[in-house]
Amino acid sequence: MRPDWGPSRWPGRLAAGVVGVLALGPLVPLLLAGVGRGLGAADAAALRFTLWQAALSAGASCLLAIPLARALARRRFPGRGLLLTLLGAPFLLPAIVAVLALLALFGRGGLVNAGLAALGLGPFSIYGLHGVVLAHVFLNLPLAARLLLAGWAAIPAERFRLAATLGAPVGPLLEWPMLRRTLPGAFAAIFALCLTSFAVALILGGGPRATTVELAIYQAIRFEADFGGAAALALLQYAVGGAAALAAWRLGRGVSLGGGLGRPVERWDAEGLGARLVDALVIGGAVLFLLAPLGLAAWRGVWALGAMPEAVWGAAGRTLLVALGATGLAVTLAVALGLRGGALAQGAGALPLAASPLVLGTGLLLLVRPHVALADAALPVAALVDGLLATPFALRALAPALAEAEARHGRLAASLGLGGWRRLLLVTLPLARPALGFAAGLSAALSAGSLGAIALFAGEGQATLPLLMARLMGSYRMEAAAGVGLVTVALALGLFALFDLWGRRARA
């Protein structure tokens, strides 16, 4: 039995209900519209490829994240904080920006092939399964590293000191148990994210071999107006993502990725020259792999800023509004879900990871259509869907910090008669402020960079930045699109940095 000084269960239950309704409710009108197509052989092939690439991508991201997170956890150097922020950038990129950024490095005319040609070596082709995995690692390695880094940060400094005093090996005693708890969750989150990837998979996959389930959803909605078929495929994605999340939850429990990132722990075991060299190489390699394509894309975007249409400023304003709306929703839901935790909260927090934004957006619009004009609904629906999709990340960031705050001060607060809203506002949230800032930053940036649900339904004068970019690309204006892409990334990263900084200020 849980002690009675803990927070009430109803906010978590209510939030889980909201998540369930938002994630599953929109499928109802779609399914009622009738399923026009059964699942065929092509869908089975798509499902196989979807699972395979998601598993490979998540595995590679997690494996590579181990040395990176370890190096970042035990080294301090100038610009470490800035690097941590910048490492979040690939995760927040619109898919097409990420693809073009990677091609600037690995494409036929990219730097790698220019280098190979100079050495007299044959060209390297990025197209194929390896290209899909490379792109997904580029997008998700930072997330994996950040999740594992939080795991390292959660190992109390005293244990390292003790291990050093006793001459005990840090790896098997401290790091391995932490990884066993942290890795499954990181794997499941990235696996679910890669499940719903389709532009990246198709473009870099090199052809219909690399078709994901999400492409079939896209086809059903756009070309065939077969909303029921799309909803059935969306349920399939939920089932697969849900199974992965359940497996991960059983294998390990989540750790905070919000608190304690500011200072690396003093590490007596890693002072040798060899260890230093390895860490330097790992960090240097990651910086090169993650930031070089970004740098190349940014460089081109800077020269294209002058080519942007007037519409960019209105679009930036709308993007900001949608992002803030999504942030409010995601953080509220995550706080409610994280206060008491439990299986219900875990499930609700994992469900949206495998959601198809296109299906959710279409279903929501179908629901509100009798009451509101589509044009008026597009932006609120976008904020709603973005907020829902960001909730799992906000929850992962917040839950451990909330639990810690409650565990440390809940009993005292209860003995002082401090409960409900007042305890939340006076004790719990201030203590969890670093995680709160990180969660809000992540939610805002995810929303700002996502093309999201409104791509098919936004009307005149309703474009957000990623949509404006897509429209420019669709009208030959690739240069202007590169400029808008840069503004998008800058806005997403700026929002992330602002919220994250606000959170970290708490400890200063």
Partner: protein, 324 residues
């Protein structure tokens, strides 16, 4: 005062009209109404003559118009503009459209007869390459060469579907074999036109599936002569973009007026250099200098019924050949 009074008298009905101007809602794809598209000029020209308020309802790209129609039903708009020939059958099957009752002469490479849908522009699909790059003269020659090509997925993109029907129209039963031969030339398949074209401009392939008018954009808008559309011996598949009025519109006369206006000089004249397609009725001044860089010897096009009937099998053959 003597001068002001008549002015006031003149202005009064105008003000009254302002308050009760009828509204015409036109659903179209979003690049049509963007500030660089044909929308703004067309809106100004039509409002100047109709005494009405023309409102664009933009919804995604051309392929998504059908989804939008299915979602909104008869209240979607008064006029839908931008359906592609390959979607016409599905649009007709919604039962939402009404006969337009307009007689017109078109400057299309094929005869056009349809009581519900009127073309407003058209273009040939074409492979676009760089001047000085590989220029195969047929798909067979391309398949035998080591030239590289970027195409779009027929399951998510209109040009992608156009290419599959193009090969189907040109090769019939031999289409699957041709796709198998082309497989090693195809660098990758993108979800939409813009990704493929963007990759092409980045130098990821020699050729890209686009329109015969694409070089005109680079020439007229950017002053760049470096792009060519390749004439293919098999002929070129046609894309026709059409508009129709909804049966449930509360302003049927206004909708019909708009469809007539659509074929007039004021509408057609802005199409070439804003939508980068051929106007359905060539303006008196002709096409802009340099607009037509390549004119195919043959035009290929399935009727809407035939396209609808062949589509699934053709896409399945494409998928099977490229999945190997």
């Amino acid at each position: 005062m003597r001068h002001v009074l008549p002015l006031l008298l003149l202005a009064a009905p105008a003000l009254a009209q302002e308050a009760e101007r009828p509204v015409l809602r036109v659903l179209t794809y979003d690049s049509f109404v963007s500030e660089w598209g044909p929308g703004p000029a067309i809106e100004a020209a039509f409002e100047a003559r109709c005494g009405c308020d023309l409102r664009w309802e933009a919804g995604g790209d051309g392929a998504a118009l059908l989804a939008r129609l299915a979602l909104e039903g008869e209240g979607a708009a008064d006029v839908v503009l931008g359906l592609d020939t390959n979607l016409v059958e599905a649009a007709r099957a919604t039962g939402l459209f009404a006969p337009h009752g307009i007689e017109a002469e078109f400057d299309l490479p094929v005869a056009w007869e349809d009581d519900m849908f009127l073309p407003f522009d058209w273009g040939w699909f074409a492979l676009v390459g760089r001047a000085g790059g590989p220029t195969p003269r047929s798909f067979r020659e391309l398949a035998a060469s080591d030239a590289t090509l970027l195409i779009q997925d027929p399951r998510s993109s209109t040009p992608g579907l156009g290419l599959v029907l193009w090969i189907e129209a040109a090769y019939g039963d031999e289409a699957p074999a041709l796709w198998a031969d082309l497989a090693d030339n195809i660098v990758t398949v993108t979800p939409g036109w813009s990704e493929a074209y963007g990759l092409f401009l980045e130098g990821e392939a020699d050729l890209v599936l686009s329109y015969s008018t694409s070089p005109a954009y680079h020439l007229l808008a950017e002053g760049d002569e470096g792009f060519v559309a390749l004439p293919m011996e098999e002929g070129h598949y046609l894309q026709v973009e059409v508009a129709g009025m909804l049966a449930a519109t509360p302003v049927p006369d206004l909708a019909r007026d708009f469809l007539s206006f659509m074929l007039s000089e004021d509408f057609q004249g802005v199409i070439p250099t804003t939508n980068w397609m051929y106007p359905a009725v060539t303006p008196e001044a002709g096409l802009p200098e340099g607009f037509e860089s390549m004119r195919p010897a043959r035009t290929l096009l399935f009727s809407p019924e035939e396209a609808a009937a062949r589509r699934d099998a053709a896409v399945a053959a494409w998928r099977a050949a490229l999945s190997r």
